[in-house]
Symmetry: C2
Subunit: 312 residues, 2 copies
């Protein structure tokens, strides 16, 4: 039976992603679900073989990359991203039945959630005290336990904790989404769809302009990037690895050639997977639907030259 590890408790956005991945057939309906307390812990269960898949948050459309996840993917035994899914991030303000707006003195939220509803709170609950919680699910549980008067959490956390919504779809920035990914052990990536992403971690040589030289491996092949972050190596202050997300699939000839070029040029390249794009399409260039060029005709031209055939 397939075992899937995710950040719990139940009622988090991560659990919503697990449910959606299951509905889409990427997690078997009879899978054994295991909750853990951090993205890194979920990935470690896959590394140890105690889980087959981990469902972890990768990126927020508002707050950017989830660095805990990226750092955990970049070190330790290699793992591979297999699928992505975007979950709309809107909060319900959850209360115990019967609580009135004027009775609310404290609100439990995860700090990331608090940042996303600050404007709403300032308008509707200007005097409320903020009780930090370790997850959105834990925030709802704290209200059920009487430790706070209200929680900002996914609607489902209210159902699970017998709470009522005082307000729904609360979010300062409209259409905020969080991207979750399914991660497994190294394997052949899912089939190319023509709208795919590839992610790698680069350690560039100890030379001036080395990052630009590495990125030229992509640019000369017209392979578009969708994100780049420098992350501390944790080995020495001031040394960084680069997390680069590419538009395209390992089976795209241009991407394959660019990755081989990066492997030649960089001191270290870690492949984090190729998988179908599902949610928002972030190309650095902002060009939606940017796809790697087709190499067939240029390669055929070279083959013709080798055969002594037509030169044109």
């Amino acid at each position: 039976m397939t075992t899937v590890a995710y950040l719990g408790p139940r009622g988090t956005f991560t659990e919503q992603a697990v449910l959606d991945f299951t509905a889409a057939g990427h997690i078997p309906a009879d899978a054994n679900l295991v909750t853990v307390t951090s993205p890194g812990a979920a990935l470690d269960l896959v590394r140890s073989g105690d889980a087959d898949l981990a469902c972890v948050a990768l990126e927020s459309s508002v707050d950017g990359p989830v660095t805990q996840t990226f750092d955990a993917l970049a070190t330790g035994e290699p793992l591979q991203i297999l699928r992505e899914h975007d979950v709309p991030v809107a909060f319900s303000i959850l209360i115990r039945p019967g609580t009135q707006l004027e009775d609310i003195r404290s609100i439990a939220t995860h700090p990331v959630a608090e940042a996303q509803i600050r404007g709403w709170l300032a308008e509707h609950l200007p005097e409320v005290g903020f009780v930090p919680a370790t997850s959105n699910g834990a925030a709802a549980a704290a209200v059920a336990a009487g430790e706070a008067d209200a929680a900002a959490a996914p609607a489902r956390a209210g159902v699970l904790n017998d709470l009522e919504p005082l307000a729904e779809q609360v979010a300062d920035i409209k259409d905020a989404r969080t991207r979750f990914v399914l991660v497994g052990r190294p394997q052949s990536p899912p089939a190319r769809t023509g709208h795919d992403r590839t992610c790698v971690v680069l350690r560039v040589p100890n030379q001036p302009a080395s990052l630009v030289m590495a990125l030229m491996e992509l640019a000369t092949r017209r392979v578009d990037m969708s994100r780049i972050e420098s992350r501390p190596t944790r080995e020495r202050a001031g040394t960084y690895d680069f997390h680069v997300e590419i538009v395209g699939h390992l089976e795209d000839a241009a991407v394959a050639e660019a990755l081989a070029g990066l492997h030649r040029y960089c001191d270290k390249v870690r492949y984090l997977g190729s998988w179908p794009q599902e949610g928002w399409i972030g190309g650095v260039s902002g060009l939606e639907g940017s796809v790697p060029p087709d190499y067939a005709s240029s390669r055929e031209w070279v083959r013709e030259l080798r055969r002594g055939g037509r030169n044109g």
Copy 2:
């Protein structure tokens, strides 16, 4: 009188940075200190004129950039980074006098602190429960109030809250440091020292390879980068600005020429300041002490050609 805003309460690492900046003469000894609850709030007090300077965390040698700070610098009225200072990040485990190790059931910490002492806790307090706090100073205050048995916080937070250290210099990663900066309203930057940093936020054109083209403005002038991050614009999912840190000063000819090139090429450039390097020196190339080249002789050659002088 100078007013300085910083993330409180007293006893945070940010307060330590304020004390150190004061000892170094960058904050007047008689300054009026105002505590706020986030880096963004500190910066907004400078924008509104209610404070002259904000002291905010910019980057951790372990966890990378403080995205709250960068996002707050990238939007709103422009502000300017004037000085940096690195604070060693080591925690004291603080208890009420008389508490024994075996009595500790709960420990209050800021979530970022918890991540940095997880190994120590697993070894010495494997069964302890984690009470999230909004700051290291608040964690110590929670112990003083009896809301937790211990706190992980700077030593000074123990002094301020009448707590005793059970252990000192606790940190899973040795030599971890956090970089703080002093931020003011736009002004001429502090004088060039020859070992300086410059920071800009770029919005690159909507074209393939545009990020590489922008970075070539630096590379062709042998100007080294020390960090790069894509950050969501928050205007549309999948669109990003780039935060780039450069080795050198606005008064370096090479940096000035590169910045002018970026201004020509990019859709938008926000200058975040030039200031003396103090702490760890992060060049992407890993070359410590990398400095922009001197342009004097090449410019003199061009002037000579214009005068019809020697060509060599």
